[in-house]
């Protein structure tokens, strides 16, 4: 089938690219991708089962590549804005047009005849094909030609020219982006324009070009991409498509490894943070996408700086935590396919890292909605089986929330969330360690809390966690045990009643020193009256 062969032909360049040891992962537009601008994230290829399987296996393979790229610090994506005429039927026809000779189109355009619009449109389609992209760039003065149309007086030609540039920006070939540099000052200028589609294309093109190379990035920064983005978001704040595109472009800039030094300070000094925060709430009509982009920008901002004073002063923690409560809560009532995790994840991270910069006195003013603990707990429970990473991140945020706040520790107890937390101690891969940290935070606050925790059978759970393979959880369990045992003699008695002494004595033979010392200390200093 034509459609299938299109996928296949797109698939092979990926492997060649890999063989060429290219640094970036290609971003091929999926032919079944009807509208990637979503009011909510939808499962794309729902109609055709066979293609669904193919999508899945392609996705799995892609996922592996992405993980490796991330480990190599080379995780970059580009987005492609499909033109309106692109749907399933069109694709099959496009493969024919795509074979049109890029070179001949180029020559035709150089004549600048009356049919230049048609030729430009044909060129934009032809440039979907990576080999054609290379050929085009190699033609002398090809970029000059495009820039000419981009800045010319014919609006349609401008649109087609930017469309060509957009296809080029999406190229898997690394030498294409630098070739597009002559166009970037104009693209930036156009960000303050009013044409939605045009502005979007400019934005996504810039966003695709940003991470390509340091040269490109330096030029863009020098040409004022940050003020341009700030103005764009300011002027177009009611145009969600543009806001989403601007958010995407900003997120591309922010992922740079030198962002902390070169980019973030400038952003924090601009009006961008307040715009990002104001866009954060999903629009009921337009949906999640702009909020997702802005949330990711905020995430990169918050984990970039050691001190998030500026963002805190904008009320970022307040905004993010409130939003988390409204979208993250009632997880069980949500439909599974809504893709809300794409928003929840960066929100969690923002809250987590912002909390680490927030002093405990400011906490109550920053986090107005105390239901945040319930939300975090629900997120934990809901995702522990389906998306354990999200559960881990939720537990991390809960730790930061409870670390220095007696109030939040108390609310975990009064809202009866502790039994549920205790049940999660059986899970591994760092989840139980983080949850035990949360419980330890509670125990650390006051003795009354310890007694309550013991009453909720935390001791019983410790009998199990003290025997686990992971040394970290055993050590932490000892710390919690210590706090419980010294808090109240009844707790100590209960511990001894349940064969706790022999457990400690056995722990004295642990190969790990921290644990041995703790067991001994506990036996000799706090349980000596029970050992005969």
């Amino acid at each position: 089938m034509r459609g299938l062969s299109f996928i296949m032909s797109m698939a092979t360049p990926l492997t060649t690219k890999q063989a060429a040891n290219s640094s970036q992962i290609a971003n091929y537009s999926h032919p079944y991708n009807q509208m990637w601008r979503l009011d909510r994230v939808r499962h794309k290829a729902g109609r055709h089962v066979s293609h669904l399987d193919e999508l899945r296996s392609k996705r799995r393979e892609h996922e592996r590549e992405l993980r490796q790229a991330r480990r190599d610090n080379q995780l970059v994506s580009r987005r492609l804005l499909l033109s309106e005429d692109e749907d399933q039927l069109e694709i099959t026809m496009d493969t024919d047009l795509g074979e049109q000779d890029v070179v001949s189109l180029f020559h035709k355009l150089q004549h600048n005849g009356p049919e230049r619009e048609i030729h430009l449109k044909a060129l934009s389609k032809a440039l979907r094909d990576p080999p054609a992209q290379l050929i085009f760039i190699k033609q002398e003065n090809s970029m000059h030609l495009l820039v000419g149309f981009l800045t010319g007086s014919n609006a349609s030609c401008r649109l087609q020219a930017v469309r060509c540039l957009h296809e080029l920006s999406h190229s898997p070939h690394t030498n294409i982006a630098p070739a597009c540099l002559p166009a970037t000052p104009y693209l930036l200028t156009y960000l303050s324009g009013q044409s939605t589609k045009f502005t979007e294309l400019c934005l996504y093109t810039l966003g695709n070009l940003c991470p390509e190379s340091d040269v490109v990035k330096e030029k863009l920064l020098a040409q004022g991409i940050i003020p341009a983005l700030a103005n764009c978001m300011e002027n177009q704040k009611h145009n969600f498509a543009v806001v989403e595109a601007a958010g995407f472009t900003l997120s591309q800039l922010l992922q740079d490894r030198d962002a902390v030094v070169k980019i973030i300070p400038q952003i924090l000094a601009s009006s961008l943070p307040s715009h990002l925060l104001s866009v954060l709430t999903p629009d009921p009509n337009f949906g999640l996408a702009p909020a997702i982009e802005c949330a990711w920008c905020l995430h990169y901002l918050t984990c970039g700086m050691e001190n998030n004073r500026v963002l805190l002063s904008y009320g970022a923690l307040s905004k993010c935590s409130s939003l988390l409560v409204s979208v993250g809560g009632a997880v069980s009532e949500r439909k599974k396919e809504d893709g809300l995790e794409l928003l929840i994840c960066p929100l969690l991270r923002c809250v987590g890292n912002l909390l680490s910069s927030c002093s405990v006195e400011d906490l109550s003013s920053q986090i107005a909605d105390a239901r945040i603990v319930v939300t975090l707990f629900e997120l934990l429970q809901a995702h522990v089986q389906t998306q354990p990473a999200l559960a881990r991140e939720s537990a991390w945020v809960l730790n930061n929330l409870t670390a220095h706040s007696s109030a939040f520790c108390s609310s975990l107890l009064t809202l009866n969330l502790v039994p549920g937390l205790i049940q999660l101690l059986s899970f591994s891969q760092g989840l139980n360690t983080m949850i035990l940290r949360v419980l330890a935070n509670i125990a650390h606050k006051k003795k009354e809390f310890c007694v309550q925790l013991a009453h909720l059978k935390l001791l019983s759970a410790l009998y199990a966690t003290l025997k686990m393979a992971d040394q970290d959880i055993v050590t932490l369990s000892m710390d919690v045990l210590f706090m419980l045992v010294v808090s109240d003699s009844q707790v100590a008695e209960e511990f001894v009643r349940h064969d706790g002494l022999s457990l400690l004595q056995a722990l004295q033979y642990k190969s790990e020193g921290k644990i041995r010392r703790r067991a001994t200390y506990l036996l000799e200093n706090h349980l000596q009256s029970y050992t005969s």
Binding site: N400, M468, F482, M483, D499, Y521
Partner: protein, 291 residues
């Protein structure tokens, strides 16, 4: 008020919290090793904790995101590990762990690290193997108790006892309490360089009670060697092999154990004994544990 403590996670770190020793207060007053303090944890964008979420994000950007869960690996349950030094057994359930521990580590002679199935048998073992008084008395009177509880008979030598067990109590001639001893000769030799307390899997294999009591030679004579003690003590102590661990064995062992103190890799808590007849550290059923 003080600035909140926080731990900065490095992007390359796999651990979620940096080693406590760096930011946490050191061991405090009177050597109190408990130094937990609540910590704010900041996570860098490249940290491993964020990997899965980042992947989802980029799949979304590349239009490959599927929000339904499809064969996603569920979070695994934590494993349990035997924490006795030298034992590397790992279990997936607490029950398995408890069974292992109760079977193999409950009644351990801390002199020779042999594991006995019950408190009584441990007592007998200690008496017969590590008690010099016993050795002396045994020369003149019947000291070797029948292993069967309630029988009460005593015998002059372990060989006599063994015969009694076979004849009267119908024990099989090659009686072992548990699984037969495996080949430990090689393992033992490799363990020579380990510190004394790190006896490998042999500790965790329950040996034949009858062997322990009657000194029936194992399949590999060499495995009688190193129980715990490094070097010379081991060689001379039990290479007598077939004969029961009579005065010879005992005295040799005693001498050597005085000359060559068991060397351990770490400080041993004071309330755990080593030596003769006063092993109590491992014998779980002690006073104060009202069950």
């Amino acid at each position: 008020m003080l600035q909140p403590d926080f731990v900065q996670l490095q992007s390359e770190g796999r651990d979620l919290v940096k080693s406590c020793d760096e930011k946490c207060p050191p061991e405090g007053e009177e050597g109190n090793p408990f130094n937990f303090t609540p910590q704010l944890i900041r996570v860098h964008k490249d940290h491993e904790l964020f990997e899965d979420g980042d992947i989802q994000r980029h799949l979304y950007l590349q239009d490959l995101y599927i929000s339904e869960t499809e064969d996603k690996p569920a979070l695994s349950l934590s494993e349990f590990a035997c924490h006795i030094s030298g034992c590397s057994a790992v279990f997936s359930t607490l029950e398995e762990y408890e069974h292992h521990y109760n079977s193999l580590h409950r009644h351990v002679c801390c002199s020779c690290r042999r594991s006995l199935p019950s408190a009584r048998l441990l007592d007998i073992h200690i008496q017969e193997w590590h008690d010099s008084l016993f050795t002396i008395l045994a020369q003149r009177q019947d000291m070797y108790q029948c292993l069967v509880e309630g029988c009460g008979q005593k015998f002059r030598t372990s060989q006599h006892r063994k015969e009694h067990l076979i004849r009267t109590h119908k024990y099989p001639p090659d009686f072992r309490f548990d699984k037969p001893k495996k080949d430990k000769g090689e393992k033992k030799r490799q363990q020579q360089t380990d510190t004394a307390m790190e006896v490998a899997d042999s500790v965790c294999e329950s040996e034949g009670v009858c062997e322990v009591m009657c000194d029936v030679p194992p399949d590999q004579p060499e495995s009688m060697e190193t129980r715990v003690f490094e070097g010379e003590a081991a060689h001379t102590a039990e290479s007598e092999g077939h004969t029961d661990l009579s005065a010879t064995g005992h005295s040799t062992e005693n001498t050597n154990s005085e000359a060559v103190k068991p060397r351990y890799s770490y400080r041993v808590p004071a309330n755990v004994c080593f030596g003769h007849g006063s092993v109590r550290g491992f014998r779980g059923r002690r006073g104060g544990r009202g069950k």
